[in-house]
């Protein structure tokens, strides 16, 4: 192992500099952490858009990445808390099982794709297919999301403080969508639904988890979900596809 790890003096974090260490070395070190390890705070410098940083994390630790990351950052994360001080490439937090990912910049396509759990917060905008095929994750986007977001979303919540692009929630299953701004268009079988008290409470819970409860007016959000008309294949619905 030639991992270049420096003990950060001020905050006790382990510092991994990706200008001198490889992503493989970083991930191998993270995967090798013992359950009782006291190395619970890691900092990653000079990520420079590299792919698969902190992918496959399965540890109750904090990682702060200082700069932009490439594809699949923290992919399949379990338990880890990952903060990205920059933009994230395609598929940030894809298939996350649990834990927390905070993108302090913008996120590219397929953010949180197929993820089963945990919380993904994106301070900026997310591109197309945000939350595609989501299976239980909660995603809070403070900016806007692109087209086909929550496509075939099965479970979990997508909260968008800005606007949503075309075909929001296309072929949606049971994922719950909340959008504060405008929606360019709804996808097949996605409809606006009444925002009842239980939905407001649910939204408040998600905003609280993202640390922004009270910063936005819950009354400004609209709720979208599945009309469930495509749950059983029928020839009369062919024009919907």
């Amino acid at each position: 192992m030639t991992l270049s790890v420096t003990q950060a003096v001020l905050d006790g974090a382990k510092l991994v500099d990706l200008s001198t260490s490889s992503v493989r070395e970083l991930n191998a070190a993270l995967h090798a952490l013992a359950p009782d390890s006291n190395e619970t705070f890691w900092k990653v410098a000079h990520p420079n858009g590299r792919h698969a940083i902190a992918a496959g994390l399965d540890a109750d630790i904090d990682i702060e990445i200082d700069g932009p990351v490439g594809y699949y950052c923290a992919g399949m994360n379990k338990r880890g808390r990952v903060v990205i001080n920059g933009n994230a490439g395609v598929g940030v937090g894809e298939n996350m099982m649990s834990g927390f990912i905070h993108v302090k910049g913008d996120a590219s396509q397929s953010a949180g794709a197929t993820a089963h759990g945990g919380l993904l917060v994106i301070d900026g905008n997310a591109s197309a297919r945000c939350g595609i095929s989501m299976k239980g994750i909660d995603i809070v986007v403070k900016g806007s999301v692109g087209h086909l977001s929550a496509f075939m979303g099965q479970a979990g919540s997508l909260v968008v403080l800005g606007d949503a692009g075309e075909a929001l929630g296309d072929s949606l299953y049971e994922a719950r969508l909340f959008v504060r701004g405008t929606v360019a268009g709804l996808g097949a079988d996605c409809i606006e639904k009444e925002m009842r008290d239980e939905h407001k409470a649910l939204l408040a819970e998600k905003l609280k988890a993202a640390g922004i409860l009270g910063e936005v007016d819950i009354g400004e959000f609209r709720r979208y979900g599945s009309a469930r008309t495509l749950y059983h294949f029928h020839v009369d619905n062919v024009s919907s596809y």
């Binding site: 792919h51 699949y72 992919g75 894809e94 595609i132 099965q154 072929s171």
Partner: protein
Amino acid sequence: MNDLTNTPRTKPRASATFDEYTLSEIRRAAATGIYDIRGAGAKRKLPHFDDLLFLGASMSRYPLEGYREKCSTEVVLGTRFARKPIELKIPITIAGMSFGSLSANAKEALGRGASAMGTSTTTGDGGMTNEERGHSTQLVYQYLPSRYGMNPDDLKRADAIEVVVGQGAKPGGGGMLLGQKITERVAGMRTLPVGIDQRSACRHPDWTGPDDLEIKIEELREITDWEKPIYVKVGAARPYYDTALAVKSGADVVVVDGMQGGTAATQEIFIEHVGIPTLAAVRQAVKALQDLGMHRKVQLIVSGGIRNGADVAKALALGADAVAIGTAALVALGDNDPHWQGEYEKLGTTAGAYDDWHEGRDPAGITTQDPELMKRLDPVAAGRRLANYLAVLTLECQTIARACGKSHVHNLEPEDLVALTIEAAAMANVPLAGTNWIPGSNGNF
């Protein structure tokens, strides 16, 4: 006035174009307004391995003694990048078939049979079950567009990962598991409501094209610490380019599935009219590997219509490293067995032709989630049948290899083959029998 009663009449003449099956399909479509969905692969007559023959040893070739001289069959998959390649005792694997489309007993039987013969099984859409993992000594975990049940723990406990781009029955198509088969357990594994028709996506949600796939494979390797062999499976359509791009994307193993390869549920029109036959795909895939200098470095698995040891031997002779079987494995378990003829007739079909696997009413208890039907399949006995069948395939393949003078089945080569038809000669790039003519060859495809 002519006496028409005594005029000779022609016999009723059925149309070759509008044959009985076609007429029945037109009537069915007119009655329902919906296309026909069924399981299995292409049923039409296609150029296939039957159109090839081995030459065997003669004056210029020295055969090996049957039952005495060794003819090895082991194959190692994933030697390019994986830290832990898969080592199989026979060059025959079990293709991906999901729990959901198949019963838990059927999955268990596949695991038992394959493990007894030292080979691998493969999960399918819907995730990995504990029974399947427990009964399969070597298990390939499919990474599919739907990602149903996908999780890092199962990824890490798999022995290999197969990124599914497509399958031979429906290159470019997704899937639909009908609500009858979405039981509480199946639905739970897929995070979907019980009883709804469940769509399997045709495209991956977070990558598009070979450049992205390369990064996706890098991620999967990172998650699994570069231990697992990573396969890329494609439906046979453009096998030369698809194989080359899979290699470029970093695959350890390429799986090419011809149009005879089965499916749990797809439109009949899709199965029969999209993709190319297995025979036409093998040499193109091998040529791509050879052109890249990667033949035998990236392994090739071929599937779609493998039935006997001759098919296995022919696929290997054309350059494959191993084959995969799906439909034949189900038949070995007991699918379409005449024992259930009475029940097949009640379903409007007959043993040997039953393919409504998506409806979940399989009398043999294999393509069903019905608890009562499932009980009909004894996983131990069915696993034994599969092991026997795999043993026969292997013995048959060895018999042919020895006759061709090969001490390992991988030493079979195109030079051992000739074709019975011009079409097969062109597709397989071997001479028409009795000639030295390879139609359309010049080394190009």
